[in-house]
Amino acid sequence: MHYIEVENLNKSFTVRKKREKGRLTREKTVIHALQDVSFHIDEEELTGYIGPNGAGKSTSVKILSGILTPDSGKATVGGLTPWTERKKHVENIGVVFGQRMQLWWDVPILDSYRLLKDIYKIDKNDFENRLEELTDALDLKELLATPLRLMSLGQRMRAELCGSLLHSPKLLFLDEPTIGLDAVSKLKLREFLQKENKEKGTTILLTTHDMEDIAALCNRVMVLGHGKKLFDGQLPDLLSRYDTQRTIHVRYDTAPDFSSLPESCTLQKEGDNYIITYAPAELPTAEIIARLQQAGRMQEMTAQSQNIDHLIARMYREMDL
């Protein structure tokens, strides 16, 4: 049995439009947020969950965390059904929303944590130890007496993360945790999550639009679009399907002669630079570099694979999302 099992989950919402003039009833549209979604996740897995806005990511996280009741289908986390055994289930999970604060706004975060201790009925010693450990790892020691409202976004995110991990959950849901964070904060957060996953064995389900997060953290990625699961597997496998083009930027001392380049390559000139786009499947990179060297005296060269965001955008386009 897997830790998280989801089978044929369905959820739809009825949205009433504004009443049009001269009509008595309002038009209704049904939005299928989830359609027969099935997957399973094992303990200690770190899974990324991606898809464009409105794909149903948040809906599935809300169902798995016990906020929403699905229309049909089964889901269990550690053998518990989230929406029927809510209280028992949520003792084992932590949830962090990047855009929504769960701690109390006006009081020092330590007070918030103390209240969480009572809410989760955490043993006093366990609480002190865990708090020590988390404040150390998240660099929160100096901030414990500061109210949430006086913190920067990065600090707030760390404080939230600490709050949702105090009861040592086995499963952590992260909904866009790095949204709006600066580079340093992002890297620190990723490092922390990786450690939490490795050392504590916390299962993590990460929803994000930041592909760097996925690339850095997750070995497995699920793609959701229009409420359906479209891909489930390794990130490199997903990328290799769409990563069909590479670009090379070169600069020469003298005017180059590109006659030996095959026709399938496209050539662009941008200032002193030449930009060559090619498909590595047709022409190996080593081969093209050799030919570029023949073309003249090379001054500088950089080879790039396509930006991961472009790949995902292309994927969404091709999947018609």
Partner: protein, 266 residues
């Protein structure tokens, strides 16, 4: 036990966060005293003009006003989680957070807000009650003290129940229904006067549907030794149970409504 501990801890913390803005707190409390004091003046004016209303003397009217103010504002003070803006709780996504914690939703709703500024209104209510019971020469015997306490406590449950109607509507349409205010705030305004002063339909409304009459006024009348609608003796002690019943029904409906909660955006 654990729930009470959690409630007390939450209240302590919320009070602390309210006092983060001491000036705002003081000014608003004063404003509340002025507001509620104004309401009390209205009662005094009536008494001045007419000496009595039906069988009720000025002292009696102040008593009715006092018990209503105390009950209503104690509820608003300690039950702010429910009497506050429930629709905003849904819109802001805070209700989602409650689902993520291993406690009852209702417990967390009650624990999430407090309104200590109401202390001003409660003080006005106490003053009215003391003046009223002095003028009407109430002799406070043990049964009367018990009846008074019962009325106030169950009255608080009734008021919470009434506000829960609004909460249930808010779950359904994610918007607050102003109509419900007619029985909550409207009920407070109307039922600070004895309901036998009102025409039939209003008497039915506040006697049965939103039973302020049974929960607060029957006991008050007995304490003043002028039984309302002939209800006296043991019946007077049973009437406030209507508040418990009302709350129990609304609690049940609220729990059902939570099953249909659909959350907002992401």
């Amino acid at each position: 036990m654990n729930t009470i501990k959690l409630y007390l801890h939450s209240m302590k913390m919320l009070l602390k966060s309210q006092l983060q803005y001491p000036w705002s707190f003081c000014l608003q409390t004063i404003a509340q005293i002025v507001m509620e004091g104004g309401e009390m003046m209205a009662v005094l004016l009536i008494v001045n003009r007419f000496q009595s209303l039906n069988q009720w003397t000025g002292g009696d009217l102040l008593f009715f006003f006092g018990i209503m103010s105390i009950t209503f504002y104690l509820t608003e003070c300690f039950g702010r989680g429910i009497t506050g803006n429930f629709a905003a709780l849904i819109r802001s996504g805070n209700l989602d957070t409650f689902f993520l914690r291993p406690r009852g939703i209702m417990t967390q709703v009650i624990c999430h807000a407090i309104d200590p500024r109401r202390i001003g209104c409660i003080a006005v209510g106490v003053a009215a009650l003391v003046i009223g019971s002095n003028q009407s020469r109430v002799i406070w015997t043990m049964p009367k003290i018990f009846l008074f306490t019962e009325a106030v406590l169950f009255g608080m449950l009734l008021i919470l129940g009434l506000f829960l109607i609004e909460a249930v509507f808010a779950v359904h349409s994610v918007k607050s229904i102003e109509l419900v205010n007619a029985v909550t705030y409207g009920g407070r305004s109307a039922c600070q006067y004895p309901i036998d002063a009102f025409p039939g339909p209003l008497r039915v409304l506040f006697g049965t549907l939103a039973p302020f009459g049974l929960v607060l006024q029957v006991p008050s009348a007995v304490i003043l030794d002028k039984p309302l609608m002939g209800i006296d003796g043991a019946w007077a002690f049973l009437c406030p149970l209507a508040g418990v019943l009302f709350f129990a029904i609304m609690y049940f409906v609220f729990q059902k409504a939570m099953k249909f909660y659909r959350s907002t955006g992401s």
